[in-house]
Symmetry: D2
Subunit: 423 residues, 4 copies
């Protein structure tokens, strides 16, 4: 069996398989194996879709049991035991302890679908058209979400104009001397600025694709205040940054904001199954029945595994405490990497950190060398200049150190190569 079938039959749109040119066959925890029996440490984790690692045994067991007992696989949005159990767990484990009151909208099981639902609802609620999104933001590939996304390569795929969005600078986008919040405040405060009163702000607290730019609590509170002042809704896109990735279940916990809507996807199912939701403050839940629908909204298998994930990892604060420790380990490991590269700097927060190595070429070279050494890791950022670590949150310390060791070694080789080339 060769990989010809992929080049012969799969669309040119395929991408990660080009960076990792092998065929994977098995995965467990933070490890992957390919068809040659080679083992890889996984620092990509499905772009943060596998926060609890591959094939968590408890989720596996629960899912196998569900399937074997003829549990309903596809139920449209009908009531099922699996959905009730999930919703109860989400209410008990996530919402109540955090004093949060949200309705859960099961959108189509992809992040972009949750984003589309969010901006549709924000426009309905406010009767306004413009949504404010941010430089380097990434929110999905369907027309509404793509309009919010900053990346020019992705935008070019639209083949048509992308409307209804005003773009504002993310925190620090124009350097330390220019305060993004002031810019936004002035743009919205000036009745002749030409930026129409917005329906919503949509922001990732840590920009996953945009280069691991992390917004401060001050910045998010400032946005929340501006949203309130201007009658706009605040949508937190926590698709990549949520589910524990930054050290708490939601990435904005403790920051003093109460988003009007929150998107969830990627690790929401716990096991990497397609699953997404939009959390909506009850007062904004003005949808008519089926006004936004979709065949796969509410993936029953995901209900099962997502419930297990909540019960296993979030019932008390023990898991969360381990994240803080691992984040420190990660920071120091990445600092060692950054120390190898003049001008490099650390980006991100929690277990969503990386190193801006200053060039996409260098970052790409480092990642390619990592792969050769058995580490799956990817870049991020407008110029792909950030080497990004998205290891499962459950990665044992030894494997985390192993991966960081490979990364450091690859970085040394790549920078040496660059030096040699420069001579």
């Amino acid at each position: 069996m060769t990989n010809d079938i992929f080049t012969r039959r799969e669309s040119e749109a395929r991408s990660y398989c080009r960076s990792f040119p092998t065929r994977f066959t098995k995965a467990k925890g933070s490890e992957l194996w390919d068809d040659k029996g080679r083992r890889y440490v996984d620092f990509l984790a499905g772009c943060s879709s596998l926060n609890y690692g591959h094939n968590d045994p408890d989720m596996q067991a629960a899912l196998v049991d569900y399937i074997a007992s003829d549990g309903i696989t596809h139920a449209l949005d009908m009531h099922t035991d699996a959905k009730a159990a999930f919703l109860n767990a989400f209410e008990d484990i996530i919402l109540r302890p955090r004093g949060m009151d949200y309705k859960v909208m099961m959108t189509g099981p992809t992040g972009t679908n949750a984003v589309e639902a969010a901006i549709k609802l924000a426009r309905k609620v406010t009767g306004r058209d413009t949504v404010i999104s941010f430089t380097n933001g990434f929110h999905g590939m369907t027309m509404g979400a793509l309009a919010l996304t900053g990346n020019e390569g992705k935008r070019a795929g639209a083949g048509t104009a992308l409307n209804g969005v005003a773009r504002m600078p993310f925190e620090g986008a124009f350097g330390d001397d220019m305060d993004s919040l002031t810019i936004i405040e002035q743009m919205l405060g000036n009745p002749s600025s030409g930026v129409d009163a917005p329906a919503a702000f949509i922001i990732e607290p840590v920009q996953g694709e945009g280069g691991l730019n992390a917004a401060s609590a001050d910045f998010l509170r400032g946005l929340a205040r501006l949203a309130k002042e201007h009658g706009a809704l605040l949508i937190i896109d926590d698709i990549q940054s949520g589910c524990g990735r930054t050290g708490t279940y939601f990435s904005f916990e403790g920051m003093g904001i109460e988003p009007d809507m929150i998107t969830q996807a990627k690790s929401f199912s716990g096991m990497g199954l397609p699953f997404a939701a939009l959390l909506i403050k009850p007062e904004h839940d003005i949808w008519k029945p089926a006004e936004h629908n979709g065949t796969f909204r509410g993936n029953s298998h995901a209900f099962v595994t997502a419930r297990v994930a909540l019960e296993k990892f979030w019932k008390d604060d023990s898991f969360q405490k381990t994240l803080a420790e691992k984040a420190m380990l990660l920071t120091s490991g990445l600092q060692a990497v950054a120390d190898e590269i003049p001008g490099a700097r650390l980006k991100g927060r929690g277990l969503m950190q990386g190193v801006d190595v200053g060039s996409g070429d260098l970052a790409g070279d480092i990642c390619a060398r990592c792969f050769d050494k058995g580490l799956v890791i990817e870049t991020s950022g407008a110029e792909d200049e950030v080497v990004k670590v998205l290891a499962p949150l459950t990665t044992p310390e030894t494997i985390l150190r192993e991966g960081l060791g490979i990364l450091l070694e690859a970085t040394r080789e790549a920078t040496q190569q660059t030096l040699i080339a420069a001579e």
Copy 2:
């Protein structure tokens, strides 16, 4: 355990659960069971997402085996054994025997995502903006797909203008005296019509949500000819009508057309798992890597079950032959229903048939009575005036007769009630 959790925590957008107010716990083949142990015959089948029935034992077994052996659940778009096996099966069983040459694009695992990818690509390929879609067409809920969708209730959910689409009449939309193809031809042929040269036509050969309107081969061939004449692509949206639903794997087989793109979703995974793809003629596959991407493109579990579905049902023509027989049975059963209602008429094709009962109220009443009698069945059409049968294609003759019997009885009661009310 009550259903309070749903009203308390699930968004008002929920819909089917309002028509079927119970809690389902188990499903097998064409049957569902609820928490009171009550059995239901399923004539909805996840809106055609369960063409092979609930929990097909071979798919169950393969999936359980895959999970238990730590098969990769989430792999982004990396090469995996599961994907290779699926692609090989799709090539061998579906494409080659039909003389079809298409690239497979794994889009996000929902129909709307496949549709979005299709229109983005059509616009890129042609450099044009306008996509022609049809009256009563349904293509999804994300911004690009929603613009193509006709239903005013769904469109209202956008909260903003939906652009880039010109609307043309589906076959028969204006009655028998007005030929839709002639209208389209004249609109496109007149350089001052105001309808810009289109990037694509997108059409469902049988409109699932729009009322089971079935396009004839002549109509589809006419569209294919017009598309070619005007430099537009022909996109067949086979999400609801494909995977055997109309009697052949693709709904347009034998009709003499070669679509430029074909969307697949709903029953594509075989077992009701989220899974979608866009089939693209190789010459149009001009995507750059990752130009359209998504976290859940290529659902590994679905690769496993989809492969089993292809191998089990489509390796030879035995399954297809059973569809023809069942379609005849269905037609005669629905004719009996139609005979109860003055002016009623049969709609649809293959195992995608229904009865236009002339009013949404009557259709709703019939379906509600069916549910009380243990049959899950829904309406369709612009006014919800069509009682629609989407039973699994694998439904045994006895259960098919059972369901049709319930439908006939419910229809009689409902029409009698209407007569009484009228007196």
Copy 3:
């Protein structure tokens, strides 16, 4: 003095000067003279901007007097004597006798500006986005009006997508067998048609650029009824067809409709000066002060000449009676032309008539031959296939006959030439 200056300095967008390659120096009534002293009969009349002929002596006198006495030339939208006199005349001579109650909005002094104001207001009034315009409709070149315009060459000039418009067939657009009104009714009546509830219909009762297609009273009444049923406004674009062109001041008089808005331009100033207005039913006049403004709204010179035009031509019905006679003369003259060409047919109404000669090449050839013989005349229609007569309404019978004579002669030559070429 040569014409080099035009090729050297004027934009390639210039057009009529290419059909009439001379330099004009003087004009009076229905006659033009060029720099070689050659005389031309004018059957174009500024595309219906000179309904009262060139340099009407009374208008000339009044305007010269106004200028010489330091009358205000530019007054923004301030109150002036000239404006008051015009408004009083318009009220007394046009509105009151017809039982019409409209507010007059002085828009920028071009037709397209009046159209833009109309659709902006219709959207404001209804809170809806979609405006329905018609095949072969022409409404202007600015972005909002261009979206309404059908001509593909004009639309290509936008360089971007033109949104917010749904296109419907003008009366007879699809031939005699297909009733356009039925199509529109069905499109709007079907809640899943995909045509959103419209803010307005905008229609030219006789399509000037689109080929002199004349709507019947039945058709216009049908539109008025549909507009009312669907909560849309009816906008009559009477820019080319108004000011007496079709035989009455407004082109729709006696047809039993009460438009919500009416656009006026072209001959509105009487003398060919830039001047336009939007007539608005008082209940729709919800503009805030300056919400739509413009530097040249209310051209003072035009107030003077427009008032003279109203007083001279519309105070009683004597002028209108002459139009009926001239229209008959025109019809018979054009019938003679049509008789020369197999398949040719008469188009239009009143003094807005022409001959569809079946091909743009033939029509162009005829017009070029006319010009050589001293007649300025142009084509119209999607394929420029209609030879169009827009002579001043004041053209004396002798000159009308003279022009028609030239046209007949040119037609004979052109058709003979075609016959010879065909042999």
Copy 4:
């Protein structure tokens, strides 16, 4: 004769007449007279449409002569003597001496029409959609131009979304600490900013409606450089700031930029007649014949007066020299006004200056008091906070001083009143 006719028949959109509630009957130079014989000094000058004053005797004479000799009033875009003479004068007097090579496109005779033509052409030339306009920019009221305009009140008039525009800060928009050029450079330089590669920048060198914000040469050169780097065209909207208003014929003379397009309107005709043009670098003049057209493009009367204006005022530098002197006089007069108001500051450049008095209420009060004292003057700015002087460039020193004296007196009264009210 009362003013009832206006309230009875003119649309609520009327505006200036509300600030100046009288009826004007006569105008000469920098003076207006009303129906009560009252004289007013005109510091509004048709919003800079009357740079050469009302009823310049040479223009009057030439126009009266033209009319009296049956010169062509309306010629569509055919060649005429009047047009040739104008084009020759424009070439000889304006273009050649400045080393400028531009094609002249006669658009519809309003500024908004010239702007619409400019952005259509920029999109055609570049194949791009986004046009960058600036905070506080004002470019017109038709859909395309309105999308470029910043004022929220005007934008609300659209009744629909305004697309295709990205908004950037004008120089100084966010205060002295934030360099607008740096912001623009970073937005365009970041491939993930979400601001698509622009078709054009459009900017007023001095923002007339936006508050007399004057761009520096550095800023304009920076934009020119960015436009070149990013493949965008630079459009200078010189409608209000051109024709000598800032001290030179074009407002950007001597600033080291070569715009790709320049709009002209307002004072372009010399006498206040509707007239506009778009100047286009020859390499961008890719219009097809009639691709952008319009009935009143090329106003023949305006050709006559515009030619006289060029010959009388711009043949040598004597007129221009007087502007510098008057600008100094104006600056010192306005400084005296500003000295009366704590925090007030001077705005603008040349004879396009004003005083930002810090509040729209105060500015409105001052202007109302001026009117009572016989001075017509208006406000500008996002909050109407700038008292704006747009006196004719030909205003004699005595009248300029008279007007400034009234303004100072009115300011003193208004500020005293404010003090009293505050006590």
